[in-house]
Symmetry: C2
Subunit: 183 residues, 2 copies
């Protein structure tokens, strides 16, 4: 079923930080009702996430300080796409920077959003297999801790209070489905 | 392994919209390196998401306009927790408002984050079973379209370009795992 998109009557910048911008859009829905919706833009708006498969039994995670929740959080390597990169190239670079591995096999899985009602931000999710050691310098303030996680213990990972990012949990399940179906 | 948290030397509001606030924190990592991290706060910072199970073969989704991505997006009912509510109560209310059903059985699944590196925002994810019709008025600008989705066709849902929210995909997989294990 095709729905009629609301008309965007006006769009304006409400406030600006260094990397985030708060914008507002005046919308008119197809039933005539008008609303102002506020949302957040960020640099680039396009990011990548890699699920690194070390071997058939083991995934790689990183442990990184997350100021939003003020703790170290487990997750997958990710970052902003750079000009000229395609999603698989960008995912491979982020993996080299953050976990010290490149991948000979990169499989595009899914374009995800974080908060589509309030952010434009999109993240390409890539499965990385057939890894080889390769370290590139990133811009992290401290070396990221790389954690080997046994696929047999995914339930324990899901129960942890420091593995919470929706896109990481989603990418984990998508990767496991892919590995189950394609080996 | 316990990691030493960075010291938060200073924290300030950089810019304010109506519902979002951009904040900056000056951090000193345990290796002495200092960085300023920018992040986004929002009203409440605590939200809920419900996965409504209509019957053993069918989940309920909503189709809602998402200004961040400027399209109608499929997802699960969700919203901000109100004062005094626990996560299951809030999930049940959001479900009544957005899909027109209450649930006799609510199971807490997981606390998720959207972008823990850049937002404090947390979302409690709840499985809703044993549904009964019950409509409460919400504050939506137009009635939300409710979509019955067959569990047998989840692969098709995951391939869609309008079902992209990481937390919704994660909640879907967590719900399917729960249903597989607990019936």
């Amino acid at each position: 079923m095709t729905k009629i998109l609301p008309k965007i009557l006006e769009r304006r910048v409400a406030a600006k930080g260094n990397i985030f911008t708060i914008e507002q859009a005046d919308l008119e829905f197809s039933n005539g009702i008008k609303r102002t919706h506020e949302y957040v833009r960020t640099r680039g708006d396009a990011a990548v996430l890699a699920v690194p498969v070390l071997n058939q039994d083991t995934l790689l995670l990183i442990r990184e300080y997350s100021v939003g929740v003020e703790r170290y959080e487990l997750g997958f390597p990710k970052g902003i796409m750079e000009p000229g990169e395609d999603p698989c190239e960008a995912a491979n670079r982020e993996m080299m920077e953050e976990v010290g591995f490149g991948a000979r096999k990169l499989t595009y899985m899914k374009l995800m959003t974080a908060i589509p009602g309030y952010m434009k931000s999109r993240m390409h999710c890539v499965l990385a297999q057939d890894l080889y050691p390769e370290k590139q310098e990133g811009d992290e303030p401290e070396p990221l801790e790389v954690v080997e996680w046994p696929i047999a213990k995914i339930d324990t990972l899901l129960e942890r209070e420091d593995f919470t990012e929706g896109r990481c949990i989603a990418a984990l399940f998508l990767a496991l489905e892919f590995l189950k179906n394609h080996g």
